[in-house]
């Protein structure tokens, strides 16, 4: 069946055999479809591993989000629970939730909020969205529908088709006999419904659900959540607030305003006489950056995740987050894509799994796969450093496999070590001036992934600065560092503990300067003073004396430099750049250009590149351009026409344009054909949005872009 038609624009195709369409998509076949001969053997394995790894990650994400929402909504839910008791004069109790500008995350925030409200406050919850609430009528209907629908027990046995019908009927013919209980969606109906519901709840006390019996007051509030308040039309919002405040005596309505900019937006939207009817309370949700930090810590760096992002990929993702959308959800989605790409493209990713499953995986490796592993850059670099003999033994597949089995689990332990070392280092630098490793741990982590940190200036400078700390400061810093690594139970924490003990145990008294020494010194000073013939020589001698005395360190200073040297050595052992690990390609994904092209679309530049230099895409020899602005007659017509149009100002004379086109393509065709070619190209340029027709002059078009590229 063709998909082009003069009248129809939507075409549905159904599978001939009904069965297979309902089968879930099996992505492993696509994994295989993309692989070369070597990768095809592990395709299914990789697909499975991706699924399980992503499930782990997803679970970590949802757990984290649950936890975060718990803290955020806790106060607000308490306030709403108590809102019924607020007396009527005080106005409608309104919780203003400042959500921040990360719009894409709000769906999740409000869904979770509604769930929590239903579970903990009241069954009567309505979530209003600006898109479907353009008039007062629609808003009231949406609100009343949701409030009343929630109160009723939904019968789960209603078949789906019936629900469709029911919805339809209710919207169009509200008073059908069989569905009278769903009265028209108006405020009086809501009152009636609410009172009825209260009665049924009140009379059989036994049936009161959950903890309501203990905490909830007699009446349950009706909560209306306004998602993204700024998007609503002020008129609708004002009217709704006024209407609801009229019913406040009969209905314990309370509002939740989701505000994404700042609290004053409420006052900008609502004039004083309206906002006077509200009693506003402000609540803050967590900052997106804070969420991200937590997320990275809990998900990306979790020891249960076998998959790791490389430095450049992580930086790209962070950049997208910080400079583009502030959306944690998008970050997770991008992370998922990285993971998918890793398992999709890298045959080595077959070994990216929990250490427990590694043995099985290594057993499965075929000869080709082993060869592929041996060809990994990191492995090759490692092998090159080995002795000739050893290298030779590793050429044998069996030995190599054993070696893999020995090395691969180390990837995970090494990452843990890196994290511990880095956390310690970050805690050490946190108090130092200048935020050498950044203000957030993710920055330090990214730095460690990108560079060999111990060789960096930041690292050296950190230790220089640490070497200047006073005793109290050093103690505090070490305590912080110990706190940061205490959970890991590594050697580093014991080291820090002993160091801390040593600092504390150091004798407090200043070292007694021996009498002999002091008298000697005094004599020396006196000598110098005598010998000094000029002011300059005196200064010099005093300076040299001072330097001599400074060179002698006091016990604390000696201890400090000893401790720091020890710490430095230890950290250098821990903080190793992942790209140096052999087999890191199995678990680390760092193809940043791929990710960037997929996640950050550049449709305009792809179109313009193709137009300005088609040889880049066609890869033909005939259209190679020496200069970006030159034209070749062999180029596709559209490119020629495009390039000619770049030479024009705002208006383009069609006739002249065509003559120029004719001059470029030469006389190979007759006039009519050239005209047809030109006409088609102009239509295409119009379709692409480069030009549009204009009435300003006959047979002219207006150019819509500027610049020349």
């Amino acid at each position: 069946m063709a998909t082009s038609s003069l009248t129809k624009s939507c075409f549905v195709f159904k599978p001939k055999s009904g069965g297979s369409s309902s089968a879930a998509l099996d992505s492993s076949q696509y994994f295989a479809g993309l692989s070369d001969d070597m990768g095809i053997q592990s395709a299914e394995r990789r697909s499975q591993t991706f699924n399980s790894t992503w499930q782990t990650a997803e679970k970590l994400c949802t757990d984290f989000q649950e936890e975060m929402f718990n803290t955020v909504f806790h106060e607000m839910i308490e306030y709403l629970q108590g809102s019924v008791d607020i007396e009527e004069d005080a106005g409608i109790p309104t919780a203003t939730l400042i959500t921040g500008v990360n719009m894409p995350d709000h769906t999740g925030v409000f869904r979770s909020l509604a769930e929590r409200l239903r579970a903990q406050v009241t069954a009567h919850v309505a979530v209003l969205e600006a898109a479907s609430c353009t008039t007062v009528q629609a808003t009231v209907r949406a609100m009343v529908r949701q409030l009343t629908a929630a109160g009723e027990p939904l019968s789960p046995d209603v078949p789906v088709v019936d629900e469709d019908d029911e919805d339809d009927c209710l919207l169009d013919v509200p008073d059908q006999t069989s569905r009278q209980r769903r009265a028209p969606a108006t405020m009086p109906a809501l009152v009636a419904h609410y009172e009825a519901a209260q009665e049924t709840v009140a009379s059989p006390k036994k049936r009161s659900p959950r903890k309501r019996a203990r905490t909830a007051p007699q009446r349950r509030p009706l909560v209306v959540v306004w998602r993204d308040l700024e998007a609503f039309q002020p008129r609708v919002l004002q009217d709704l607030v006024l209407i609801c405040s009229q019913y406040r005596s009969r209905l314990p309505i309370s509002f939740v305003f989701g505000v994404s900019t700042c609290a004053s937006a409420v006052h900008r939207l609502l004039p004083q006489h309206v906002s006077a009817r509200l009693s506003l309370h402000k609540f803050h949700s967590q900052l997106a950056t804070h969420c991200l930090a937590e997320m990275i810590d809990k998900v990306l760096l979790s020891p249960s995740m076998p998959f790791r992002l490389g430095g450049r990929a992580l930086r790209l993702l962070l950049d997208i987050f910080l400079y583009h959308d502030f959306s944690v959800n998008n970050f997770i989605s991008a992370y998922k894509f990285c993971m998918l790409s890793h398992f999709l493209w890298s045959p080595a990713s077959a070994l990216c799994c929990e250490p427990g499953q590694l043995e099985e995986r290594v057993e499965e490796l075929t000869g080709a796969q082993v060869a592929g592993l041996r060809a990994l850059p990191s492995v090759r670099a490692y092998l090159d450093d080995l002795e000739q003999e050893e290298r030779h033994t590793l050429q044998h597949d069996g030995v190599f496999k054993e070696w893999v089995l020995h090395m691969a689990p180390k990837l995970h332990s090494k990452h843990e070590e890196l994290l511990v070392g880095l956390r310690c280092l970050f805690a050490l630098t946190k108090r130092l001036p200048g935020a050498l490793l950044g203000k957030q741990f993710r920055e330090a982590y990214n730095l460690a992934l990108l560079h060999a940190l111990p060789e960096r200036d930041e690292y050296k400078r950190t230790f220089q600065l640490l070497n200047m700390l006073s005793r109290q400061e050093l103690t505090a810093t070490l305590e912080h560092a110990l706190e940061a690594v205490s959970g890991s139970g590594s050697a580093l924490s014991t080291l820090l503990r002993t160091q801390l003990d040593r600092v504390r145990a150091l004798d407090d008294r200043p070292t007694p300067v021996s009498a002999e020494e002091s008298s000697q010194q005094r004599r020396l000073v006196a000598d110098t003073l005598k010998q000094a013939t000029s002011r300059q020589s005196l200064r010099e001698s005093l300076q040299s004396m001072g330097a001599a005395r400074n060179a002698r360190l006091n016990p604390y200073e000696t201890l400090r430099s000893a401790l720091l040297a020890e710490l430095d050595e230890h950290l250098r052992g821990l903080i190793v750049q992942p790209s140096k690990w052999p087999f890191n390609e199995c678990v680390v994904f760092d193809d940043v250009s791929l990710v960037r092209r997929r996640l950050v679309g550049a449709p305009r530049s792809s179109v313009q590149t193709a137009l300005a230099d088609p040889a880049k895409y066609l890869q033909c020899t005939c259209c190679q351009l020496g200069d970006a602005a030159s034209i070749r007659p062999t180029m596709p017509d559209l490119c020629i026409v495009y390039k000619l149009h770049l030479e024009c100002g705002r208006l383009i004379n069609l006739f002249d344009w065509m003559q120029a086109f004719r001059a470029v393509v030469g006389a190979s065709d007759d006039d009519q054909t050239i005209q047809a070619r030109f006409a088609h190209c102009v239509a295409e340029l119009q379709f692409l949005g480069f030009i549009k027709s204009t009435q300003r002059k006959t047979d002219h078009v207006a150019r819509l872009t500027w610049g020349s590229c």
Partner: protein
């Protein structure tokens, strides 16, 4: 002269070496030479030893020549014959007689003048045309006279590195060149004013021509180190380029602007690299093309931003050296297994200044209209027939692009099956891509195709089709919101099928509505709906806000196919295509059939009258009273009331249009062209 001295110093060290390596490179592939050729001729011709190498590409030249006007065929053949003999290894020996190419050159110039005549109409495209034409004629004449001198001059010019090696020469050559350039040299202000024009061909063309003329006047310098390339060869090498220069209508006059622009570009690039992820130097994905462009921008960076023309030339030279050396080897073109590398895209270098120059300059356009053509607007059918008759260029390459995309299908499907949606962008119709995907992989799956470029696609239609045909809902709800909910509920039910939504031109004219995108975003969000869409418009990303983008969860794929947008543009009211009245005619026939015989008579009467008076310019409709009179005469109506009743019916069906004339008389016309009406009348008489 300061910069000239600088250049001489700089070049004297590296010149010979680089030119030698250059030559070996050029020998390697013909393609390279082609690349050199285009730039070489038009920009500066002083490193003639390079041009010598071109002589061995004679067959290539003649192929190029075929593309030119008939008048130039002869020349390229003539230029070709001696060159085929040329041995690329013995470049230092003069080989072919000088007279032929020179004659060819002369002829070419006169041929070019003819071309100029045909292009005369262009105001923008033929910049400074009168001035240039007389200038060109002068040049041609000089060429004709001085052709023997020319050879010696070229001989002089060519040895080794004339500009580079010899420090005594520049004074004469420099002044000569400057004199030659005078006709086109413009002040900075002038350039600023007509920046958009500065890329137009004439300056470059006349510059190169005048340069060679000036060169012919310059005194012979001492011979250098015996590597003197032969004159005939250099001339022959250049001959075929001249038509090329004419053909490639826009080669930039290398103003300092270009230098400045590149510096700016480079700076912005550096800055961007600082901000965004920068260190993917070792990316295997970066194509060699990208590298070359990178290098290209480094060169001007070292240049100082001065208006001295010499430095530009130097710039040109360096650029083109790099260009020649970094042309990707043919081996890069992967046809087989691995998908070919899509070029890494550079950020479009557009400076804000360009905007103001575009809007302030607004150079006058000529008053030519399409009526100068024999048939100003082709009909759609004729257009298609003409285009179909013509073989498409780059057919193999375009097919290769398409097959490369096919290799990516599993990737798309894998991504789609894990909750991502696919958006294809890039130049060229992507209908074929999605169609192939559909045919190859989605045969056994429930899928729906939406033509976003179709002028009648609406959210309601989309949802109704989805519900009725795809999900088998017998009586779908009528409200949009309810429909969406129904779809959501349907697809959330256990055992529901996965639905693939293929949307051509998700940014099509009708798709840009907020409502449509809202519906699509809601659908795309569903776990069982997999959206694969294509976007064509350059401003398409403006359709989506953050929230929608997050709902769509797109992965962007560059799917440049360079295929013509035939289907997509067929619905659009193209500027150059005549609107066919087939539709109007057929609707007229249908309505006409349902009329009573008397009513038909009235209409035919009206139509005939209009056809008869088609040539009358003052005719603007038949007065109602006259029509009534005639109808009465023909016994079609008996009263004016009856006539009015009929006319109301006509008006309702848009068969006629009434207009009040200035004296208050109602005048009736049939809103169709006279030709169509007579066609209609003829068909009426037939039946």
């Amino acid at each position: 002269m300061n910069s000239a001295g600088r250049r001489t110093r700089k070049d004297s060290g590296s010149g010979d070496n680089s030119s030698r390596t250059m030559r070996t490179r050029q020998d390697s592939t013909i393609k390279d030479i082609n690349g050199v050729l285009s730039v070489r001729f038009l920009d500066d011709a002083d490193a003639l030893e390079k041009i010598c190498c071109i002589s061995k590409t004679a067959p290539k030249m003649s192929r190029v020549g075929e593309l030119l006007r008939n008048s130039q065929h002869l020349i390229s053949h003539r230029a070709g014959t001696p060159m085929t003999v040329a041995d690329p290894d013995s470049e230092s020996e003069p080989e072919s007689p000088p007279a032929q190419p020179n004659a060819a050159l002369t002829e070419l110039n006169s041929a070019q003048l003819e071309v100029e005549d045909t292009v005369r109409g262009t105001a923008v495209f033929g910049f400074q045309r009168c001035h240039r034409r007389s200038h060109l004629r002068r040049v041609a004449e000089e060429f004709a006279q001085k052709s023997p001198v020319k050879t010696s001059a070229a001989d002089i010019k060519s040895p080794g590195t004339p500009r580079r090696g010899c420090s005594g020469l520049p004074a004469s050559i420099g002044s000569g060149r400057r004199g030659g350039r005078r006709p086109v040299s413009r002040t900075v202000d002038d350039r600023n004013r007509s920046r958009s024009r500065s890329r137009s061909p004439p300056p470059a063309r006349s510059r190169s021509r005048s340069k060679s003329r000036s060169r012919s006047r310059s005194p012979p310098p001492p011979q250098r180190n015996g590597r003197t390339p032969s004159t005939p060869k250099s001339a022959a090498g250049r001959t075929p380029q001249t038509p090329r220069g004419r053909a490639s209508a826009a080669l930039p006059a290398k103003t300092p602007q270009t230098v400045r622009r590149k510096v700016k570009l480079r700076l912005s690039k550096l800055k961007q690299e600082d901000i965004a992820v920068s260190d993917d130097d070792d990316d295997s994905d970066v194509s060699p093309l990208e590298d070359s462009s990178e290098d290209e921008y480094k060169a001007p960076m070292e240049e100082e931003e001065d208006d001295d023309e010499e430095s530009e030339e130097e710039d040109d030279e360096e650029e083109e050296e790099e260009e020649a050396s970094t042309v990707p080897p043919a081996a890069v073109r992967g046809r087989g297994g691995a998908p070919r590398r899509r070029p890494e895209l550079e950020p479009a270098a557009v400076s804000a200044e360009d905007y103001f120059s575009l809007h302030s300059a607004g150079g006058p356009t000529s008053n030519h209209t399409l009526s100068r053509l024999s048939e100003p607007r082709l009909s759609g059918a004729a257009l298609r027939a003409l285009l179909d008759a013509r073989p498409t260029d780059h057919a193999a390459e375009r097919a290769a692009l398409l097959t490369d995309l096919e290799i990516m299908f599993p990737h798309w499907l894998a991504a789609v099956s894990h909750g991502f949606n696919i958006l294809l962008h890039g130049l060229g119709s992507k209908r074929d891509v999605l169609e192939r995907l559909r045919r190859q992989h989605l045969r056994e799956r429930l899928h729906m195709v939406v033509s976003g470029y179709h002028p009648s696609v609406t959210p309601r239609q989309l949802l109704l089709t989805l519900l009725e045909e795809a999900l088998d809902v017998p009586a779908p709800p009528s409200k949009l919101e309810a429909q969406l909910e129904a779809v959501e509920r349907r697809l959330a039910a256990p055992g529901a099928p996965a639905l693939f939504l293929l949307v051509h031109s998700i940014d099509g004219p009708m798709m840009r509505a907020e409502k449509m995108q809202y519906v699509l975003a809601r659908l795309a969000q569903l776990p069982r709906v997999h959206l694969l869409a294509s976007a064509d418009h350059i401003n398409s990303p403006l359709v989506w806000d953050q929230h929608k983008l997050a709902q769509f969860n797109f992965l962007w794929f560059d799917a440049t196919t360079l295929l013509p947008y035939t289907e997509e543009t067929s619905y659009e009211n193209s500027l150059l295509v005549r609107q066919t009245a087939d539709l109007a005619l057929s609707s007229l026939r249908h309505v006409f059939k349902s009329l009573t015989p008397n009513a038909r008579g009235i209409f035919i009467l009206l139509a005939k009258n209009q056809v008869e008076r088609a040539s009358d310019k003052t005719f603007d409709g038949m007065p109602l009273s006259e029509l009534y009179q005639r109808c009465r005469d023909a016994f079609l109506v008996s009263s004016q009331v009856a006539l009015r009743a009929q006319l109301t019916e006509f008006r309702d069906h848009k068969l006629i249009r009434t207009r009040q004339s200035h004296d208050g008389v109602e005048q009736l016309t049939v809103p169709l062209e006279a030709a169509l009406i007579s066609e209609f009348l003829a068909s009426c008489e037939d039946s």
